[in-house]
């Protein structure tokens, strides 16, 4: 069985992945671009997929043009684009296990660029599992990708710029938004960090556009508020909001109820870490930047030689930063695979690096505008679900503590937290936060359950078709050699 060999494998065809693939190919590298989605573009450049798309298009002329350029970049025989394909294993240096829903196969790659993007960070609160409570990304996908509006009225609640984008988009397509609830309450921060924000370039124009939409819509905008509970029997019917006071706790005496069939929520984004963790890439904690971030150098290379990480999958920075990081990673991954960089490529790399510095300044300004100190532990009740797959409640975890089970590994073994279909994606971040919050020393690093293959759930049937050498069973005289 021959295993295909390539120079660079790029995982994720969003903003970072597409630009990485384009640059690596421009260098002359043989590239495989793997994407879990059926269509390129990731979350940001997502294109309408149904034939009968009825919503008003939310993609700006500029982005439409940029997306066309990105697609042109990968339209070369050097790039093999594999949509609908999951990376479920990476071992050695580097054999990559792929599965496309039908069958598995392996490729060997000299370098890897992980550009797997991010997902919404949501903390648990009473009622957050009710149907109708959806993430900001989930709302964006419905209206941008599917042209379908979530059930109205909608409350948009959480923190960060994506939330405002989601709110503005809902308004743009004519959905009734009952309120926008933003946890941060520091409008003066915009002035204070203006020197950093000014580096945002076109980001600023976009921000003003979204704010204008919200302002014109006259939707109640509650700053310094948060949702403390969601209610409903079969699905969401109302939420309670309350002001956040100085210590981050909620002033429940001033709570008020808002009728809502949909709650769009998110506390910003957090990088998708399954593949970095499978590979054991070093992380650092960046609370303002989505929590655990992957450590990279100026080449976007991680702590593992030959593995590059770019875009929101490394550290939350938005689309402009993702595009730049993707280009830097693509060029350096090709160089890593042994391809020399021409003078013009060197030049474009220098340009990208200076753009990167500028955008990082903007990012740190933006982060400070949306800074908040919500004490979400304050919201937990014994009935609040922490692990959505196994229905592990806060009360159940607390009972374990009384029995002396306190570490994430102990709690996992005792309650099955993190053992469901989502493989811990919903709850392990929360569990890490909870155990260090509850522990004697919050700074102490917790040993978390290891990420092992499959990095995403795969159908057993996908593994039945790949050509394999016959199994080498050891010549063992002690039969049967079965294990319990």
């Amino acid at each position: 069985m021959t295993i295909e060999e390539v120079d660079v494998t790029i995982i994720g065809a969003g903003a970072a992945g597409l630009s990485a693939a384009g640059e690596a190919a421009r260098m002359g590298a043989r590239v495989v671009l793997v994407d879990d989605n059926q269509h390129p573009g990731g979350q940001y450049f997502r294109q309408p997929s149904p034939q009968n798309y009825k919503c008003k298009s939310l993609v700006s002329e500029k982005d439409r043009h940029r997306f066309v350029q990105l697609l042109k970049g990968i339209d070369t025989p050097l790039v093999r684009y594999c949509p609908g394909t999951t990376v479920w294993d990476i071992h050695d240096q580097f054999t990559i296990g792929l599965a496309d829903g039908e069958r598995s196969r392996r490729i060997r790659s000299a370098a890897i660029v992980i550009s797997a993007g991010a997902r919404d960070h949501v903390y648990p609160f009473p009622g957050w599992t009710l149907p109708g409570v959806i993430t900001a990304g989930g709302s964006q996908n419905l209206i941008k990708g599917m042209g379908i509006a979530p059930a109205a009225p909608v409350v948009v609640a959480g923190n960060g710029p994506l939330l405002l984008v989601a709110a503005a988009n809902l308004v743009s397509v004519g959905v009734e938004v009952a309120a926008v609830v933003e946890a941060s309450n520091r409008p003066w921060n915009i002035v204070r960090h203006a020197a950093k924000l000014i580096h945002g370039g076109s980001n600023l124009g976009l921000a003003i556009k979204y704010l204008k939409i919200l302002y014109k819509s006259k939707i109640p905008f509650l700053r310094g508020y948060g949702v403390i509970a969601a209610y409903g029997s079969e699905c969401l019917s109302a939420v309670d909001v309350a002001p956040i006071i100085r210590n981050g706790k909620f002033e429940r005496s001033q709570a008020r109820r808002i009728t809502a069939k949909t709650m769009v929520t998110g506390m910003g984004l957090t990088p998708s870490l399954e593949l970095p963790r499978l590979l054991g890439l070093k992380e650092t904690s960046m609370p303002l930047r989505g929590g655990p971030n992957i450590i990279t150098n100026e080449k976007m290379m991680s702590s593992v030689f030959g593995v590059f990480v770019a875009g929101d999958g490394s550290s939350i920075g938005g689309v402009e930063l993702s595009l730049v990081e993707g280009r830097i990673a693509g060029i350096n991954a090709a160089i890593h695979a042994g391809i020399g960089a021409s003078e013009s490529m060197q030049l474009s790399l220098t340009r990208d690096l200076s753009a990167h510095r500028r955008l990082c300044k903007f990012r740190s300004g933006l982060e400070r505008v949306f800074m908040n100190n919500v004490d979400w532990y304050d919201l937990l009740t014994p009935e609040t679900i922490i692990c959505r797959c196994e229905d592990v409640t806060w009360g159940k975890l607390h009972k374990c503590k009384e029995k002396g089970l306190i570490t994430p590994l102990q709690l996992k073994a005792a309650t099955r937290i993190g053992m469901g279909r989502c493989q811990g994606r919903n709850c392990l971040g929360t569990l890490a936060a909870l155990t260090s919050h509850e522990g004697d020393d919050p700074t102490k690093e917790q040993e978390m359950p290891r990420t092992r293959p499959p990095a995403r759930p795969i159908l057993l049937s996908e593994l039945l078709h790949e050509q394999l050498p016959p199994p080498e069973l050891p010549d063992d005289p002690h039969l049967p050699r079965q294990q319990d």
Partner: protein, 89 residues
């Protein structure tokens, strides 16, 4: 399926209209259905992250395997059913 891509599928026996290219979740939400799963303790759940991460929208199709309703495109005649995680052996 007709010319404008309209098609029909069933969710727990109920006839639902969808359009080619739509995800199961989107078609159900457009029909006012948000609960598509029963959790381990029997609580209703549905579409949450919308990007294939959370598996809350998992449904069974054609009586065989489970799929994420947010990622699986609807097909004409598809039989979609609630996954009941509380159902024990």
């Amino acid at each position: 399926m007709n010319a404008n891509g309209q098609l029909n599928f069933r969710f727990d026996g109920q006839e639902i209209i969808g359009y080619a290219g739509e995800s199961i979740a989107a078609a159900l939400i457009a029909s006012g259905i948000s609960a598509t799963r029963l959790s381990a303790t029997g609580m209703p759940r549905g579409y949450f992250c919308g990007m294939g991460v959370c598996w809350e929208c998992v449904v069974r199709i054609n009586g065989i395997n489970t799929v994420r309703a947010c990622r699986q495109v609807v097909e004409d005649g598809m039989i979609v059913e609630t996954v009941n995680a509380a159902e024990k052996l």
